[in-house]
Symmetry: C2
Subunit: 322 residues, 2 copies
């Protein structure tokens, strides 16, 4: 049994390669590590897990009612993601478990990736790279003709921390920014669209930066894509589930929209096979936030949340549970 003066027991679940918090956590808590299987609580760990008051969940492992039932001492879940769609927040609330996320730790890097994907799709950078590497430049001597970034009308879906960073970065490109979100933001002069359909109709690029909720699931459906039109481009750095992926694949193949830059997918790491051969898209393995600097940031935020919780201080980046 642990004594009350002992450091709290904290369960740590993480992908094999993401060891950036190991040392800091081990120095400050009694860490119980899961294996990096899809089941975070193997039988061998059950007795220790039952003592865990904290749970650091690095990555996107779903936290279900069932998992929570194996963690009867749990008081706080510390996430290293911004999105919380993999967490049963209602169940957490019922059990009195608080949840923290990455806060703004990733915002800049995700915004950088969004802009990078946008330029990459419009100016066909990975296609150009393939063209040169394959030797086609020497053989055909032709150009890779892209679409202008300057002056593009860009509609941002979700003008939170990430969306605002994207907007700020695109302004000096001469892009014309507008946005859709739950409510109009008082502190911006960008044009607001109360519905995504008209945002899509009046813009040439959509950048998805919102969180995935029951209300935003498949917010980009066939109708939105038809409205965006054949030269339209979708950039998704939010969650795969924001787009009806099956319809998007059809729209890309049929030329209903012009292209896409996708960091997220509905069934990661599985990417629809039809996308693999398409030249008008850029694919990225949910790495919009993945820089060494960002992992340091998020490690600090996650640790600060744990520290704060166990010393009865205000949390750094609490998630609203209702």
């Amino acid at each position: 049994m642990s004594k009350s003066s002992d450091p709290p027991v904290v369960l740590l679940h993480r992908p094999a390669s993401l060891n950036f918090m190991d040392e800091l956590l081990t120095r400050n808590f009694q860490i119980v590590k899961t294996h990096t299987s899809s089941d975070p609580i193997p039988n061998s760990l059950s007795s220790q897990a039952a003592l865990a008051r904290g749970f650091v969940n690095i990555g996107l492992l779903p936290v279900t009612e069932e998992l929570l039932s194996k963690l009867p001492s749990l008081q706080i879940i510390v996430l290293t993601s911004v999105g919380v769609d993999h967490i049963d927040l209602a169940a957490c609330k019922r059990r009195g478990v608080v949840v923290t996320n990455a806060g703004d730790a990733f915002s800049e890097d995700v915004a950088d990736t969004a802009v990078g994907l946008l330029i990459s799709v419009l100016r066909r950078i990975p296609a150009a790279d393939r063209y040169v590497r394959s030797g086609n430049w020497v053989d055909s001597g032709d150009f890779i003709l892209g679409s202008k970034v300057s002056g593009k009308r860009v509609g941002i879906v979700g003008l939170g921390s990430i969306g605002s960073h994207v907007a700020r970065r695109l302004e000096p490109f001469g892009c014309i920014i507008s946005y859709h979100s739950r409510s109009q933001k008082p502190d911006t002069t960008f044009r607001y669209y109360p519905d995504i359909l008209s945002l899509a109709a009046e813009n040439e690029v959509l950048v998805l930066c919102c969180s995935l909720t029951d209300k935003t699931r498949h917010i980009v459906n066939r109708e939105v894509m038809e409205s965006l039109g054949k030269d339209g481009v979708i950039i998704n750095v939010g969650r795969g589930g924001l787009i009806d992926e099956k319809e998007m694949v059809k729209c890309l193949v049929q030329g209903v929209i012009g292209g896409a830059g996708l960091d997220v997918f509905e069934k990661e790491p599985v990417v629809p096979e039809e996308l693999i051969g398409l030249d008008n898209i850029v694919l990225s393995p949910h790495s919009a936030m993945a820089t060494a600097g960002s992992l340091n940031n998020v490690g600090e935020v996650a640790f600060a949340n744990l520290k704060a919780f166990f010393s009865n201080q205000p949390l750094i980046s609490p998630v609203q549970l209702d």
Copy 2:
């Protein structure tokens, strides 16, 4: 023989795919088209070419003393490039031939590509795209870890129209901008470095935006790359000859520098074979300016220069011949 009231004879040389000026030129001048061979004046054209008062040179065909000698009536060369390193300007001056270039028509698109290449190299966007398409994401499930764009110290070589657009675009990323150019610019607060070696030493990224001249040839040599260092990245949207390409290949292979985003090469379209397999570089087939919008812009500028010349009006974008 042509009468003096006839529209002037204009020689047109262009790559097969770049027909964006054909119609406009044909409507306004007596156009003599070369074939798109490397020799712009086949024997069959010689008699007509001898009458040409204008020469629209789309692409990068070298204009040598020898070529000029076949064009005894020539008064103006209209280029669609910004760079003029393929033109023997001294020979033009001796013969009283004026030269115009693309002016600022390409600046925004080239700057967009420079920023796109910078994000693509640091955040490894084409590498990520290859990773997903190859199925490796499913197999290894690992991250593609990039280097942060936000906060990077970026040194711009050549703060003209393109360089200034690059600087303006990178500022909201939180990049710290400084520059090297022939002389300090009075209208900017960016830090100025009178020599490129110290610019390289104190920055993490070099963006080459200057023109290729006798003074800038191989301005990025081994010493500069050593000074930039093992995490340093070079972006080149200027001309291939700005870099000692042979040394750059060694530096990339040996890890003397960290990566590169290259739109231009010393012997285009030939790219050094050693580069093809490298994962830390992004290659592009001299297409930084290649958008439909840009070609329209440059077509307008080129046509306006011709029109102005033959109506004794001031040229839009004359090239200094000394």
